[in-house]
Symmetry: D2
Subunit: 480 residues, 4 copies
């Protein structure tokens, strides 16, 4: 998208199994001149509709830029809340894109407004941008020290954010001290150099930054490395340079969101040195150890649970088969008001591959059960088509708590694990049995790959993950 | 649009003959409760497309609100620049809608940014809103004195603005000390009371504020009065109350934009106590005195020049006829790159009523000639259809200077009056002769109606108008 | 639209005051080669939306073509019913465009279906096309004699149709023997020859055929002549050639639709040698003679009644003024379910030019009153704004009967003239008085111009018009 | 879609791996009354966009109907060519929906046009409809014998068609004597009766007919049986009744399109008693026998080749893994003009699951290679990500010949198997080796399941399939 001969940009991929469409997208480019010219476009919907050809045309000037795709968490979904957020300051425009949710946003808003600043949106991105502009006071004669301002911001808010800050011809890539949200760097190497190795200081061809590494391949870039928890990385025509690592409070572990592995990320993304697919497969193996089943075949709810299902099959020795084919022409399954319509909705979305399982006992692997509305008609579909028993094995623990760090989870009341029906979940959804992966099992499946990795790379000394939605243990104290 | 049983709102009408479609529209409503809930919607294009039914639905809560339709002057046309501008302050949200252009915007932006405020748009509305929030410093314990803040703003910027400022359950309607932009108040009286008279203090049914009075009729309101130059009017559940009149510097005259009469306003609007149509008719009469023609018939370029043409016919004694009919199915005449295409474009838009003028000498009245691109093919059309001579009489003086007060005028170079061709304008556009109304003639045609009016209403003691685009004399010194 | 160096095409203009938007449009072009290639495009809505740029691109091959814009009369409004209708025959494709309604369509459909032809639409155009293909039987060895087939068709159905039939490199322009629907020929002369005179046989540059001559000017063509009642005109690379005139039954007069003058046609169109505007102005004069008024001023419901109003003013000696200005930003006035909403709808569409008529007695001219829903709120608007009396004068007689010849008139029950309220129409609509033009007055206003014309052109010996919707006298016996 | 308490309808599913979106869809319903009312809607694009809610609303009257989704083969893709085709005859309307392509369409068109019928489209559906209406001659006094007319049609054209003919309250489901196109019957049983068994004559709740059985599940219907080659089945309020089986010429085998198994059909559809998925899995097993590979892992080009890949893995004993994940947010891969853009297009559509195969030799199964444009960048993607060797195994033979029976295959020149590059196909696409399934292998994989089936069901005595696109042997002689 950004055919740069020089520097960098951010590209966020649409995320989350259940989030069948992002809400808005924005891009801001800078020509890097002095003074720079910024060009911006924002739109609602998927990138393809948010960026019509004429919008892209106007963005092609400039060799650095940041962009953002958004699925609303706090801010109401309106174009106005679209990122990146750009403001004009005494020393020119800064643009900020942000992934996450500031845990102390309320107190910070008060602080900014006390200075007489009116906030025009409810988004954290504007708040971050105004905080960067506000402190210390700006003066006309001295160029602002953006790195000091970013560090200052990081001392005011511990989590949860991955940031891109663009000013003139520099982009700063920042991850909060707990590393709650992902952020990684990729490198665009010209075709002729694709197989050569080059050090960071050498003449480079372009850099990209993204929440997920899977987006690199689609623009011809290669995964380079993660931004570390608390790290500020500068990207400019001089290449990539690590400027600083803001530490966590003594004793605190990193808290990368474990649900990125379970649910949100694309399987080909890499976090902490391991491929998400591999982690999911390991969850399936662990699930087979924790919850073995007396059955004939193992299968998947396509497509997100397939790695876990293959892992379960390998570990258990049961044959892996397909029980459902997906109808590519059905878009979103809207939430239907009653059981019969939900049944028809699922029957439209999935076709039963009857002959593969008729007369057999099926273990069906799902990656998570949030509300419990979809799995029930799938089970009925399989039983109507001849499955003698359907056992559900879930490759993650039940979600029980809200997330205050940027993940859109249903309210506590809507979560199936908090409902009375959960006591007899198998009966409620019509399964022969239901079993979940334990929190310990999940954590070990995730961290096993990192340990093996740490032998090679000593950069992150200790390992830790945020499991707040499963355990209620938040990485920092909540203050409201 | 705002079925209020209590207070008020602003409604701007799309304006300007040449401005065949506004660019964006926004509306913000408040439920007036404590703390209030604001609801907002903004959209691009005409009101009808900017406000789909579901947008209107969400706005129906609340009994006061402000809205804005916009044809960009300074700010680039993007949804982000849409008004009203709403910001959250320590004491709740304020919403501001603005018509005009701050003559010292550049210096004011610097001032705000020096405080560390980042400005997210290039619009004056955001600037005004942040200025109101900024000075004096806001404190949590004391409610802000908005009237003092508005007065403070008015001392910092002399012109050009008409404002609506909404806070909780009050709207302030403000006009700059020079009265450069129009603003007037209308009253919604319930059907049963339509013919009763009521004092300002009495129990009222609803108030509306608008740039142009013509918008009142379409929502069932009656014209009440103008906001005076420099006046701050408060509209609340207690009705309409004049709070203050901020004076002009000693010796300065009011400077209401004379082109509102000539060109922008709808003919049924009322300014300074007189109907725009009547002023235009008077301009036509004055033109007949200044520039009589030896011809057979008088006609108009439909529809905006019709009042002037009828005035010219009455004064000159020549018969008024129609020479062109408009094709309602042709939308905008896009600017065509060459003479032949311009000719076909005009031929598609206007049909020649041949039999009305074949063999005759025609005086064709136009209200203004800005670029000179349209009148030329019209003259050719008439001559091809049999007119023996076509004399052009323009019911306003030539435009020669830029406007820095909110009116979108082509650059100096594009104005026909500044081109070498203007020396032989008749030859250039193919007319038998061309004559313009004088500046003195225009001013007297405008002020004649006010003088007669002043006998009844002594409120504005002296009369003056901004003729900067015609004379280069700006009401205040320009500072950049 | 059809930049032909050689031959011709049809262009229908959207028609009718009340028909605020055509429903569909189609165009078919032929490259005239042997065998020819036809290219077609049809779309719903106005021409501008029915023909996106890529559709026009594919049509540019070929130097002759026919097109059609449609406001449904009999056929349901679906794309399938769009004209021109093209069918493939043993000898290649023919394309037919049709304006009007076959008075004996029902019997003709039966006839065609008895031959085993299935009819895929309810449109007369398909019926005409299949009739042309069917009789006499087609043979592979002999080229079909299309002129004989057209004559044969004309003996089977007397009225109402104007037709364009395209086959390979020839277009036949046909008008039914009664001349009920209009059809005229225009000539595209290259710019350099615009003022030279050329005989029909000479080297020509292009020909166009249209229902209304007003469409010629917009494509740079000049009015040439009407197709006569019953005439078949051939248009080809050899120019325009009259092939035959099929006669009416002995004693029958021509029956050109008088409502084309009153209501449907654009004022700059020419029928029977006279401009529609002039006829409407004459109707206004006649109305002033038949229905004089004791009043102060004459005005119009803009814009269609303006010629009649000017005629009334000239004849009566009363001054002509404007009382209403139109809001160009309001599209269609939808039929509103109650009086209050109708009032607001009209108040949105028209602004009252109060100062022009306050305290005066107004004669308001309308061109016709069909349902009576619009005039009533206009009268109220004027009276609220200060008119002391509003007298309605209608420049055509009341419509009382259905049209079976292609004009879309409300059902008999919906026509105000057939309702009980018509007895006190003035009271019903709130007018001081209401008077209509008489049928005799209308006919004489129409035919007066033709008589004077006949001195020059002896081609149509006798004069007659269809007044069926006013009198119930249909030009031919109705058979169902 | 058709909530019928009584009879039936047709529902075609969008088909074909490469056909990522149908072009148009139409539906016609009949209320079954005497005379019946038909309601129709047709639209372009996917069913969801072709049928907006208001269109569905108008279709809900009636308890039988036929519909059609279309991917153009012969007729140009315009709304006019949309099926079902409805024509009015002397005895009322018939509606026809058609899947396939008449092998002698050209001669039949001539025949119809010789009768004087003009054909308004290039579609076979109109041709079929007019043929049904034409012979024998229709008379007003006698109701037409539609079954005789259908039989008559079947003697005039041997293949390829599956038809639905609706007349008043009856639908005839027809398959050509060679059974080239699929057609099967499903039954809607009320929820309460879902597990009861019922004979054909009994009281039934509803019947549906479809090209593919997979569509039944999504509307709550169960697979009932196939329509046999040459069979005419009547569906009415009396249920399903087999009326006749029109035989093939002595000695000819059935010729069901073998590519329905390979490529077009959804894997959960049932043809000739066997599930398509099972046949594809068998093709994979057969391929492993015919073309074994010395490699480490087996994988699939998701998703259509997955059953074959699983079959190959089971037969070969190599482990099945996933090498690619699909990006759900990328729609269609447009054909890109050069290698670099094709590479990026594939990289956007598929993510490489690097850790699963880095350092390994991969056997990649594809279901067919038509043009060879997609497989090449996929191989490059895998090798760049670390695969040491990529062996391609194709689960069907090379396509070499055009299809004249309704399947849209690229021209002979575009088929990779007919290009010189095919001599070194592995080198051309960058694979370590390439091997295809043999024709004999494919036929035996298909027919093996039918043989086993024939033990139970003796209805189709002999087995045969159309392999024309692979072998050039067409089921009937081609006449042009």
């Amino acid at each position: 998208m950004l055919k740069s001969s020089l520097t960098t940009g951010l590209s966020c991929v649409p995320r989350g199994r259940g989030q069948l469409g992002q809400e808005s997208a924005g891009i801001v480019t800078s020509n890097g001149a002095s003074p720079p010219t910024y060009t911006a476009h924002k739109g609602m919907g998927l990138v393809s509709s948010a960026f019509p050809p004429d919008a892209l045309l106007k963005l092609r000037y400039g060799n650095l830029g940041i962009c953002h795709t958004r699925y609303s968490t706090t801010g109401i979904s309106e174009l106005q809340n679209c990122q990146p957020f750009v403001v004009d300051t005494l020393h020119g425009k800064i643009a900020v894109a942000h992934n996450g949710e500031l845990i102390n946003a309320h107190a910070l808003r008060k602080k900014v407004m006390r200075h007489g600043v009116g906030l025009s949106t409810s988004s954290d991105s504007e708040l971050i941008t105004q905080l960067l502009a506000l402190t210390p006071p700006m003066e006309e004669r001295d160029a602002p020290d953006w790195v000091a301002r970013i560090k200052n911001l990081m001392t005011e808010t511990p989590t949860s954010y991955s940031l891109l800050v663009m000013f003139k011809d520099v982009i700063y890539a920042v991850r909060d001290p707990y590393g709650n949200r992902p952020l990684c760097i990729g490198r665009i190497v010209p075709v002729s150099k694709l197989h050569s190795s080059g050090a960071e200081e050498e003449d480079t061809e372009g850099w990209v930054v993204s929440s997920e590494s899977c987006s690199f391949q689609s623009i011809g870039a290669k995964y380079y490395r993660e931004v570390l928890p608390g790290e500020i990385v500068q990207i400019s025509k001089h290449g990539v340079k690590s400027l600083s690592v803001v530490p966590r409070p003594e004793g605190d572990l990193p808290a990368f969101c474990i649900f990125e592995y379970v649910y949100f990320a694309r399987p080909d993304s890499i976090f902490e040195g391991q491929m998400v697919y591999t982690v999911r497969q390991r969850c399936g193996r662990q699930l087979a150890i924790e919850a073995p089943t007396d059955a004939d075949v193992v299968s998947t709810v396509p497509e997100s649970a397939t790695p876990a299902a293959l892992g379960y099959a390998q570990q258990s020795g049961l044959p892996y088969i397909e029980v459902l084919c997906k109808n590519r022409y059905v878009g979103r399954t809207f939430i239907q008001p009653n059981t019969r319509l939900r049944q028809l909705g699922v029957a439209k979305k999935f076709g039963a591959l009857t002959d593969n399982f008729a007369g057999k006992r099926v273990v069906l692997i799902d990656d998570s059960i949030v509300r419990g509305n979809t799995i029930s008609p799938i089970i009925k579909l399989l039983k109507d088509a001849g499955a003698t028993e359907v056992h559900i094995r879930v490759a993650s623990p039940p979600i029980r708590h809200p997330c205050y760090m940027g993940i859109n989870i249903p309210t506590k009341e809507e979560l199936i694990a908090n409902k009375p029906e959960f006591q007899d979940i198998a009966g409620y959804i019509g399964a022969a049995s239901v079993q979940y992966l334990t929190v310990e099992g999940l954590v070990s499946a995730v961290q096993e790959g990192i340990s093996s990795l740490q032998q090679k790379d000593k950069s992150s000394k200790r390992v830790g993950h945020c499991t707040a939605c499963l355990t209620g243990k938040y990485p920092v104290e909540l203050e409201w």
